[in-house]
């Protein structure tokens, strides 16, 4: 049997080739009639104004931070979940304490309206 890592590498390489061919092919197959109007950004026919490559809302940053905190938390939960049956009641209560601390952080985020999208 092949090692799983070998499968992942071979398959990953094939997927990259698939994507590259897919994105390159229309360059050679499709028609090419470039034009000034055609190559403008599509904003529903209105002349575009302002540069989209500018600062965006700080909101996205909050969400990224909160995600980071709680996704790392989920990562900590997985190894515990695997050995949970051997850890017994004690391990269970310990994890509840950990969750309680995180719940405080979550409550803080809610209270300070970082979970809002405005």
């Amino acid at each position: 049997m092949p090692t799983p890592i070998l499968v992942i590498l071979v398959f990953g390489a094939m997927a990259v080739v698939f994507g590259m061919v897919g994105a390159l092919l229309p360059r050679f197959v499709g028609p090419r009639t470039p034009g000034k109007e055609k190559e403008r950004a599509y904003e529903c026919g209105v002349v575009e104004s302002g540069d989209p490559w500018s600062a965006s809302r700080v909101q996205f940053y909050f969400f990224a931070l909160i995600f980071l905190v709680f996704d790392v938390e989920a990562l900590f939960l997985f190894p515990w979940a695997v050995i949970f049956k051997d850890a017994g009641w004690l391990g269970f209560w310990e994890m509840l304490v950990f969750l309680g601390v995180l719940a405080l952080g979550w409550g803080f985020a809610w209270r300070t309206r970082s979970l809002e999208w405005e």
Binding site: P4, F63, F78
Partner: protein, 387 residues
Amino acid sequence: MERLFIELKSSLIDLAAWFGVPAGWLPLLSAFLSAATIMAAAPVIMMYQTWFERKVVGRFQDRYGPNRVGPFGLFQPIADGVKALQKEDLVPAKADKLLHFLAPALVVVPTFMLFLFVPWGRGMVAADIDTGLLFFFAFAGLQAPIIVTAGWAPRNKFSVLGGLRAAAQVLSYGVPMAISAVAVVMAAGSLSSSAIVEAQGDNWFILTPWGAFAFVIFFVCVVAETKRTPFDMPEAESELVAGFHTEYSGLKFALFFMAEYMGSFAACMLATTLFLGGWSGPEFLPSWAIFMAKSGVLFFVMVWFRGTLPRLRIDQMLGLAWKFLFPLSLVTMVAEGLWYFLRTDGRMAGAILWPLAILAVSYWILSVVMMREFVRGNKPRGKQDAW
């Protein structure tokens, strides 16, 4: 039939050995065969997903759906592919040319990888590693940066916004999705997808009190992760034209489309693995057919959502993830713990009632709080501003 694919593969390898391929190359050949099979199967599944979705949504809307190309419109996806190939490859003049090419090329890669870690049938996991589930979530999360890149590259307001929204959505729903899977890992005691299926046997996890809740949470998150209706905010036509793929035409657009559909089917497969007993089912059917049938039914539910539900508002959607699904997924974990301990103590009634009770109470509290916020908004008390 049961071992059709496994036997086919081993006989091909035997054939190669007979032809004098050195033994050192055989593992590579075996890896190649597994990879090539999935590489061929996933796009075909995706093509018939689009056909199925158009047929079913058509019925929901009292029309036929595709029925011109081939019998029952079965060749429609092929015609669509040929058409996409013939389109002009439009690149906006101000775009970042390299990223505009790389984003669609790479967007399919993590979605393809998802298929490696699901058990397609008994003994049919392409990469059967102990941490398969973590790999699945890791590759599912890789979508977010690629989609932000895709939105950023064409230098278009709508696509930048769509890309950032998509990232916020994928990240937000990724957390409850992973945590509701933690409950399954607790019950199965393993992160390997085939071990999770074997741990269930005929007692599917969805039939336990915590499993029913976790499944609903997981499925809702999966629908949001793959950006399908009612969570298709990143592509909200009425607000953002086509979101992050506004500026991609032809085959490049098709690649995004493909990533989305393959992702949703892979997610249905994972939901089947985690909660619906994977490939276990009646003995007379081959395990891979059972697995595909269950995943197909889940995909039908996704299409059903699309035919039924209107789109959510973005603040409601993110609120749902953080204020409702996330805490509830933590509670399913606790419920699983109680279920396991009380059952090993032999207190069967308590094992059913306690998890149900804490789930029901937290469901009630959270939904009341969340609905109140949806109605009147989360305003800071008095004049104090939070920041």
